[in-house]
């Protein structure tokens, strides 16, 4: 009787003990998770609110990563770039792999301003397309993940001071990588998004995403400024 009874007596006690232990454990994991999410949220907001601007002015100018897209996007982008001051001494152009037209236009744009001091260093980088026109949402998600995995090492390697983009889907993974670099404190990158002039009353899909993940979000029509109060309206730019 003795040993069996002892077991019978001790078992419920053990069970009780381990039960409350597991509860505690789950509670603390849950609490830890909440704190982590909260901290991540605060940190993300901190990075996005622009407290993380490149403050130290470099003597050799800032580096600028430009996400170029197809056709109209490239036209608008080259117009914006045409008037930039000479303080962006290094330019990295990131293009979707399938886009050879834009590459040629960028090269001729850069060649056109090779005049002494205005000459800047530039390089062209290719990444997989994150979304083709008319691609479905679900398969877009998959290709976007693939694209992000490709963009992360590129963003880490280039570590630009500023990212400028204006709409092609390719810019979403790049901007998310930039945000990640800011969150982990590796590099503060200012993400600047300029919505296309074509968008008068509704944002593009890229715009709707990057409205939440950019430091400066610029629109070109007043109606959009009304709808998206966080955006900046400077008149028609291109």
């Amino acid at each position: 009787m003795t040993s069996q009874n002892q077991e019978a007596l001790s078992c419920p006690a053990l069970l009780h003990l381990s039960g409350s232990g597991m509860q505690d454990c789950a509670l603390s994991v849950g609490f830890g998770f909440l704190v982590a999410v909260l901290l991540l949220g605060i940190r993300t907001r901190w990075v996005l609110r622009g407290y993380a601007r490149p403050r130290s002015r470099k003597k050799d100018g800032l580096s600028l990563l430009v996400v170029a897209g197809s056709g109209g996007h490239t036209t608008e982008m080259l117009r914006l770039l045409g008037k930039l001051s000479t303080q962006y001494s290094t330019k990295y152009y990131v293009l979707a792999e399938t886009d050879t037209m834009s590459e040629e236009r960028i090269r001729s744009f850069e060649r056109s301003k090779v005049t002494g001091i205005e000459k800047s260093m530039y390089s062209i980088h290719h990444i997989p397309r994150s979304r083709e026109v008319r691609q479905s949402w679900s398969s877009s998600l998959l290709t976007s993940i693939k694209s992000t995995l490709h963009c992360l090492p590129l963003t880490v390697r280039l570590r630009p001071d500023v990212i400028l983009c204006n709409g092609p889907g390719t810019c979403v993974p790049i901007c998310l990588c930039a945000l990640l670099l800011g969150i982990i404190g590796m590099k503060n990158i200012t993400v600047v998004y300029v919505e296309s002039i074509c968008r008068v009353e509704s944002l593009s899909l890229t715009g709707r995403i990057l409205y939440y993940f950019s430091n400066l979000f610029i629109v070109q029509w007043p109606l959009l400024k009304e709808k998206y109060p966080k955006s900046i309206y400077l008149g028609r730019l291109v």
Binding site: L62, G72, V194, I197, E201, G235, L237
Partner: protein, 166 residues
Amino acid sequence: MGRCVFVTVGTTSFDELISSVTTEENITILQDLGYDKLVLQIGRGTTTLKPYSTTSEFTVDVFRYKPSLAEDLKKADLVISHAGAGSCLEALEEGKPLIAVVNENLMSNHQNELAMQLYKDGHLYYCTCRTLGTTLKTMDLSALKRYEPGHPEIFASFLDKALGLN
């Protein structure tokens, strides 16, 4: 020196526009307005129009694509374009009177947003394939406001300031 109408459908196709412009009725309207040359960029369209000259000295040229439409735009006295943003801006920046024709088969096409706005601002005329004839007859090209290009330099100085440069 004759007067030329340039019709462009952009990178895809818009057969309905091409057939609307080339109906006998609309060709007559164009002739009455003093135009004697029609140049059609038809893109991927399936229209089987061939270049021709009529006895009344009205010529029609047809091509699918060119690397740049700048030359044709320069030569034109009136541009009739699909309502796509790129084509509209290109014509307006060349300072040409423009009729933007919306493709009703492409519903909720955001490309029309810009044409619509530019119409509201008085820079172009806006119509459908069915109302093209009426628009041609009633339009007053001198009433169109000149389209001024945007100001990228404002963006440049804004960015410098935001980044703490200068």
